[in-house]
Symmetry: C2
Subunit: 135 residues, 2 copies
């Protein structure tokens, strides 16, 4: 069917219905993504607390390398751009660091409890997430 | 338990075991996130094709506003920072635009098929995702 200059021909209800259906799927996926991200941050906070209590180092470069390799492979399998998967991890880790910075700011009287990080449980993008940098 | 200067006390196998368990959960969530993102991009590509074929406008500001409001509400319900949920949408839309730019570059002989966008099905962060900007 010829299309003239992207001029709307939205009068066809079946087309709009199809569009609505796809959008509902996108909305469902977005809801799932938000809830999974919420759960992920709960786990990284657990890691942060564990590392604080037992004095484990905040970063684990080997773990980070493995995470990136694994995510890139999963992305390829699902036909997602591996570079995007890695960027996504970097994006999430930035929020993890932000969380821990806020946490550190809230409980300055109890530095042990505010120890990071869980950052290394996300990606290698946080090599500077050592305690002195949390402010 | 007192902790001395975050010095590793990783000799305790039960602690490392607990850490490993949490990390496995994080890995499972990351795999789910990657697969959901892959599926989401398939849907936004469907939207892009549909809009191209039927000459629907690439952007839908009202839809975008609703998406942001909905995602922020879902984030609050799941104790995720609403501002992060909105940033996440912005991050994803940037990739959607990137996808369509590549698509446009691959099929320059068939401009109708390369019409964006599905961008408006993600967030309001892509007001400039009009066809002339795709290059």
């Amino acid at each position: 069917m010829a299309v003239e200059e992207n001029r709307p021909v939205a009068a066809d209800p079946s087309v709009l219905e199809e569009l609505q259906g796809i959008r509902r799927s996108i909305d469902n996926i977005d809801a799932a993504l938000v809830h999974l991200l919420a759960e992920r941050f709960k786990f990284t906070q657990q890691v942060g607390r564990l590392k604080a209590v037992y004095g484990l180092p905040p970063a684990d470069p080997q773990r980070e390398v493995e995470q990136i390799q694994r995510l890139r492979a999963l992305a390829e399998d699902s036909h997602l751009d591996p570079a995007f998967a890695e960027k996504f991890l970097t994006f999430v880790i930035a929020e993890v660091i932000h969380h821990h910075e806020r946490l550190a700011g809230e409980v300055v009287d109890e530095p042990q409890e505010t120890w990071p990080d869980g950052a290394s449980d996300v990606t290698a993008a946080a090599p500077d997430a050592s305690p002195p940098d949390i402010s």
